[in-house]
């Protein structure tokens, strides 16, 4: 309970300030590049790119503010992210009319999960969704009495909750790591996870644009190429490995393992959500973030990198978990 009371302004250490200063420089350059393109090639429509850069400003500002405010703010922020992502996927997925209240029940996993994290009930958090939600939900759906497409709907709802709620709740768990266990504090761990995940998306996209020739998964994600994947992997792994001593307690070899795996997890999350979207017949999961699409479009890779990062760092170096 004591840390519930002291939740307030978190400690912001110099590496984090440098990190955000670096991001601000990148964004200033990107914004100037958009202005330059609008001036020199006014015949093309740059609105989408301009909106995308503007949205990056907004998203990075929100994350920076939450990190500065401490774990309570990160908990509220990612609870909101989980809710919106879950709403996006459950609104697009095939459901039956009888599932309306089951959907409401699924949303209750958001306050439940984040509440358990806030109250330091890590062991209950670990089983709350994968055991209890997975048992109770199919039972409730059986009581509702509709057996048409029953199994498929159970799978849809439970998978959506794992991806959107259970996996993202590791961010507030990371944020509660005691300050002395990571060189830049808990906020540094969250920062590095978010930075390398999103950088991997951007690097894969840019490498694909620049060198892309051979399609990697044409039936699922026709724009992704081997060149994009490998180029993104190299740049992200290098960035992670170089930044790991600044932000994480990992040894050189531990950091190398994570550096090798994290870009693959990011790619996996991206491609998995592409398969879902292709199945549902949509390009974006909503229009929430101008220039990006839905929230789930932005965080699809994070739903895979977050558990990898958390469990690997916890296994190697964190005492509370």
């Amino acid at each position: 309970m004591s840390d519930l009371l002291t939740a307030g302004l978190g400690e912001v250490r110099p590496p984090l300030l440098w990190g955000f200063a670096g991001l601000a420089v990148v964004l200033v350059v990107a914004s100037l590049a958009v202005l330059f393109l609008q001036k020199t090639k006014p015949d093309r429509d740059w609105t989408e790119l301009r909106l995308r850069v503007q949205s990056w400003w907004g998203m990075i500002a929100v994350v920076a503010l939450a990190l500065a405010l401490g774990w309570a703010a990160i908990t509220v922020l990612f609870a909101a992210v989980s809710f919106v992502a879950l709403r996006e996927i459950l609104s697009l997925a095939p459901l039956r009319r009888e599932d309306r209240l089951i959907v409401l029940w699924a949303y209750l996993t958001v306050p439940l999960t984040y509440g358990l994290v806030a109250l330091d009930q890590y062991r209950i958090y670990l089983v709350a969704i994968p055991v209890w939600f997975f048992l109770v939900t199919p039972f409730l759906m059986a009581i509702a009495g509709q057996t048409r497409a029953y199994l498929a709907t159970v799978a849809t709802i439970t998978w959506a909750v794992i991806v959107c709620v259970f996996n993202l709740a590791v961010l507030p768990l990371l944020m509660k790591v005691p300050a002395e266990e990571a060189p830049a504090g808990a906020a540094g761990l969250v920062f590095l996870l978010l930075l390398t995940t999103e950088a991997n998306d951007v690097f894969q996209f840019l490498c694909g644009k620049a060198f892309g020739r051979r399609k990697i998964l044409p039936t699922v994600s026709p724009n992704k190429t081997w060149e994009g994947f490998v180029g993104g992997w190299i740049l992200t792994a290098a960035a992670f490995w170089l930044l790991a001593p600044v932000f994480t307690p990992l040894s050189v070899w531990q950091a190398a393992v994570m550096a090798a795996l994290l870009p693959v997890a990011g790619f996996a999350g991206d491609v998995t959500m592409s398969a879902v979207k292709r199945d549902l017949g949509v390009k974006d999961t909503s229009r929430l973030i101008p220039g990006h699409g839905g929230l789930l479009d932005r965080i699809d890779s994070l739903t895979f990198t977050a558990p990898l990062f958390f469990h690997l760092v916890a296994y190697y170096a964190l005492t509370p978990y």
Binding site: R87, S91, A93, A149, R287, L288
Partner: protein
């Protein structure tokens, strides 16, 4: 046949600060929480009246969703046209409908010689934006019911007011007819190109054109796999 210009519940009521506070501080955030409120074609929304918004109707959410589309300074001019038999049914509902939502009541049971559209027409005369559900009642969410002719009659009587079609996708899942518990699900409002009454046009033709626009918007809405 003109009715007197001031009828109970009609005139300046929607301009009250209470309604403004209710709609912007309570209703709009609730709509965002429950529906995500994606908007396609926001630039086609009218900024000033007179104008007629014609939307499909499947849920009590619809009016709140449409009201949430407008910025605070336009909101004072926006009036949902709503059935008197339902929304003025008892004093409590009536107070909320008139003072917080700011409806313009319309009678669904026409008495001989009564001009039921008079309040809506006077709202247009005052330069207001009226929200109309031309189906006249909430449907099941599966497609659209028959459109009543009121919108065409208003457009003919007041040709300066463009008719802007809006298709609301998904409100019937958030709060279907007969349900009490709202469930958050993403919804999309698709704003179409305005229709304008042209000299010599016939009313059934205008209504058919409106239906066509609404159906085209529905076809471009995100898929909704709900069975």
């Amino acid at each position: 046949m003109r009715s007197p210009p001031t009828e109970p519940g009609e005139a300046a009521r929607p301009h009250s600060w209470l309604r403004q506070a209710f709609l912007t501080a309570l209703a709009a955030p609730a709509v965002r929480f429950l529906t995500g409120m994606d908007v396609v074609g926001r630039e086609r929304l009218p900024r000033t009246g007179p104008a007629i918004i014609a939307a499909n109707h499947a849920s009590h959410m619809d009016a709140f969703m449409l009201l949430s589309l407008f910025p605070a300074k336009t909101l004072a001019k926006v009036r949902p046209v709503a059935a008197a038999d339902y929304f003025l049914a008892n004093p409590a509902i009536s107070w909320v409908s008139l003072n917080l939502i700011g409806i313009s009541p319309i009678s669904r049971k026409v008495k001989r010689g009564e001009d039921v559209l008079a309040p809506a027409r006077r709202a247009l005369e005052r330069g207001e934006i009226i929200l109309v559900f031309p189906e006249g009642t909430r449907g099941s969410g599966q497609g659209m019911g028959d459109l009543k002719g009121g919108v065409a009659r208003l457009a003919e009587a007041w040709p300066a007011a463009p008719v802007i079609p809006i298709w609301i996708q998904g409100a019937d899942r958030v709060l279907p007819k007969g349900a009490r518990t709202p469930v958050p699900m993403n919804c999309t409002a698709l704003v179409g190109e305005p229709l304008v009454w042209e000299e010599g046009q016939d009313r059934p033709g205008f209504t058919a054109a409106l239906r066509e626009r609404l159906e085209a918007l529905a076809a471009s809405a995100p898929p909704q796999k709900w069975s």
